[in-house]
């Protein structure tokens, strides 16, 4: 076994070399950390997730938008109690008892004079 003096000298000469010249991580090996097949799968999954998120957002927005009508033009449709639109899912879980869309405000100008 080497004397401790030699061991200390050898250890510190390695340490100095290590501190001064840290081994650079080769770019190629860093890229190969994730295999190419797996990278492709991840990209496809991310793309699909993005599409699903976009479609969900569009559907959600369409559900909330009520038909626009100018406040000056009187409504030609008779005022009726709004009902749930058949074939659409009510998000408030009212099971068809409540209107799916926000009920239109009653047209005060068109209402009969008291």
């Amino acid at each position: 076994m080497n004397p401790v003096e030699t061991q200390v000298a050898e250890y510190f000469s390695w340490l100095e070399a290590e501190v001064r010249q840290p081994e650079p991580i080769p770019l190629r090996s860093a890229q190969e950390t994730i295999p190419s097949g797996r990278r492709l799968m991840l990209a496809v999954a991310a793309g699909l997730l993005l599409i699903v998120a976009a479609v969900s957002f569009v559907i959600y927005r369409q559900d909330d938008v009520a038909p626009e009508r100018s406040p000056d033009t009187p409504s030609t449709t008779p005022i009726t109690t709004p009902t749930a639109t058949p074939g659409r899912i009510c998000r408030k879980n009212c099971q068809g008892r409540r209107p799916h869309l926000r009920a239109p405000r009653p047209n005060r100008r068109a209402s009969p004079v008291r």
Binding site: M1, N2, P3, V4, E5, T6, Q7, V8, A9, E10, Y11, F12, S13, W14, L15, E18, V19
Partner: protein, 150 residues
């Protein structure tokens, strides 16, 4: 000696001493702090009799601020150095006192003379010799090479 020459010379010796005492990471950072301090106070440092000794104290203060309990100062021995270097050497170095470690490493790893180490650490050469002997004895005991290599 101009400040630039002083800074180059001081930073080399400071780094050796602080790496010996606190390992490459903390020692390196402490050296940078001490050199920055020297630059900020260059007029005062230049006028000193032993500027490196003073900056060593500045580096010591910085290193003690950077030290955390349980921090590993010296990395483990790489496989290619075994069996020439005992794997227990970093731990054995850590168990020495700061002064013993600094003296052992400066003399046996960086090739400093005992007078030079004394000047750097601000102690007498006989004190350095004393710390050196005790440090080497402790290392031999820890690595169990006392009787084989003497």
């Amino acid at each position: 000696m101009g400040f630039d020459e002083l800074a180059v010379d001081a930073s080399r010796r400071l780094r050796h001493a602080l790496v010996a005492a606190y390992g490459p990471d903390v020692g390196g950072e402490a050296t940078a702090d001490a050199v920055a301090y020297a630059w900020e106070h260059r007029d005062r440092i230049e006028a000193m009799e032993n500027p490196v000794g003073y900056l060593y104290r500045v580096g010591q203060t910085a290193a003690r601020r950077l030290m955390k309990p349980g921090r590993v100062l010296f990395p483990s021995v790489p496989e290619h150095l075994e069996p020439r270097v005992e794997p227990g050497l970093p731990a054995a170095l850590m168990n020495l006192t700061e002064m013993q470690r600094t003296c052992v490493v400066l003399v046996h790893a960086y090739g400093y003379g005992q007078t030079e180490v004394g000047h750097l650490l601000g102690v007498s050469p006989s004190t350095v010799r004393s710390h050196l002997d005790r440090g080497l004895t402790a290392l031999r005991d820890a690595l169990e090479v006392a009787h084989e290599s003497r």
